[in-house]
Symmetry: C2
Subunit: 326 residues, 2 copies
């Protein structure tokens, strides 16, 4: 009873063993943060361990902006909004005198900011609604392939954190299912998260607008409406998790007060759990901001992390590298 | 360079080969329906085939009521609602004179029906809202473990279709990711779909109410509100698919007009696609109903299936067995 391909099988087994023997998190310094991650992953994935968690329940959720990719000097989705408004402006001559478009087209960001939440909703409606889901997906895919970060000149999908990419792969290799749970738009992330993070569209949770099914020339389409369905931020994150995943994560990763409730929800379950906050304290290699920042403010969640012993990652101390090598 | 466990590996390889050689759909008769299923699965999962679809895109969606389990004499979730109202009645003396509760508690189903859509919403609010997601989940789990079908006396989770259970396993074995997309409640299905169908909570899409995150005695909870979030039926099914999955299925399975738009949405994509409708034409082993039925009406979707050459399964002709052996 000889098997036909023992060599190939043996090769994979050995490769897997070598893989495990190597450091799965080479971009992390050998500090307490890394040790806490590895200790957690090993105890929940080792059969027979008192902290063992069956693979289907190994759900991990990740914030995106500031946790998996950068969010300075402005949220990248806002850079997309600005580029879209500029691109669509020739078709909207009325925008020259209509706020917040008029200020934005003149490059007057203070004027845009003055338009407040209403201005944001107006810009979102103009750039994220009124087209089909497929049209929007293509627009995002085109933008992400060509747009460049204003400071580094790199494509936005290279503004991701190498240590977090390794962490995603490490968790997956240990039977975890990783989800994004972001305040960003669900349809803005899905066109590229599978390629960049290995996270497929069905594992992306985000803010969303309502959709409408209709027939156009005998073909069904889904039209994006200018109405909010879910704001997947702060108290909306546990809601998004329940809506989409339907079970409580055992590990959650964030960087700001927008992630506080997700971390609380994760930690309030039974058994072994893990919460991590990325602290942006590296002005040299990335940016340094926390309690007073308008983008990715980290204040209350930081206090809670310290009080409860959650892992707080110092980008400066814990990360060997920040962005992927060019 | 000898591997440590070639025997175990070889055993699994051989077991997998034997498994593949056996009929993966033993409860299906060898008719055109079965042949169409197998032909589709083989062509999309065979690398090098002109119809090959990469595994991550092999998304299949299944309606639940009437497609994976029975739906007669009433939708099983409605049986749950009735049982819950009876169980909660002692705490609600006012229900004795308040419709539709008064009629229901007297067993007057015509009176309940007369309360119309408003009555349904009132009963749903009384039984599906006002508690936390965890409390509701436990209530469903308790009910499904004890309640019995009025005609067969079997637990509801044994009122599932054996041929469809085999189909789910066959698709999974060929790299498909199977989702439920049901008009039924998402939180009503999730407590048992993993055990019964092998479909985890995060792959269940259904109708849902809004949720609210709040702190109770310092512990975070999600409270079920009496407000509709999504009616995942008819034109709501493609919406639910896009919201939750974010990519178009390549195969969809239903049994009623409530599934028509899901099948249309699935078939309108590029490449090889598959649509199937289960026709309930077996009064002896199950029930026979279609165009005039109040439950699981199959009328327009049937016409479209015939016109477009979708696979229409005759329970009577195509299925060797209907329910799992006792």
């Amino acid at each position: 009873m000889k098997a036909r391909f023992p060599f190939a099988v043996v090769f994979y087994v050995i490769a897997a063993q070598i893989g495990h023997a190597q450091d799965p998190l080479p971009s992390w310094n050998d500090t307490a943060s890394k040790k806490a991650i590895v200790a957690f992953v090993e105890k929940v994935s080792k059969e027979g361990s008192p902290d063992f968690v069956p693979a289907p329940e190994r759900i991990a959720t990740f914030d995106n902006d500031g946790t998996l990719w950068a969010e300075q000097p402005i949220y990248f989705q806002f850079a997309f909004v600005i580029d879209r408004i500029k691109a669509l402006a020739p078709k909207h001559p009325e925008w020259k005198t209509k706020e917040p478009f008029a200020s934005l087209l003149k490059g007057d960001m203070k004027g845009v900011a003055a338009s407040g939440e209403k201005g944001v909703m107006t810009m979102l409606a103009a750039t994220h609604a009124g087209m089909t889901t497929e049209e929007f997906s293509r627009t995002v895919a085109d933008w992400i392939a060509t747009a460049r970060h204003p400071k580094t000149g790199r494509p936005y999908i290279e503004m991701v954190y190498q240590p977090m990419i390794e962490l995603l792969a490490y968790l997956r290799a240990n039977g975890f299912k990783c989800f994004i749970v972001s305040g960003g738009g669900i349809e803005f992330m899905r066109p590229w998260t599978e390629k960049v993070y290995g996270i497929p569209p069905e594992q992306v949770v985000g803010s969303s607008g309502k959709l409408k099914f209709e027939m156009r020339d005998g073909k069904p389409v889904l039209v994006k409406l200018p109405e909010i369905n879910l704001i997947d931020d702060k108290a909306g994150k546990p809601v998004g998790i329940q809506m989409h995943i339907g079970r409580r994560p055992i590990a959650a990763f964030g960087n700001s007060d927008g992630d506080q409730q997700m971390l609380e929800w994760t930690m309030a379950g039974d058994g072994s759990r893990f919460a991590l906050i990325v602290h942006h304290d590296d002005a040299e290699r990335e940016w340094a901001y926390d309690r007073k920042s308008h983008v990715g403010q980290l204040d209350k969640a930081w206090d809670e992390a310290v009080a409860k012993g959650w892992t707080v990652v110092s980008m400066k101390e814990d990360w060997k590298t920040v962005f992927p090598a060019r």
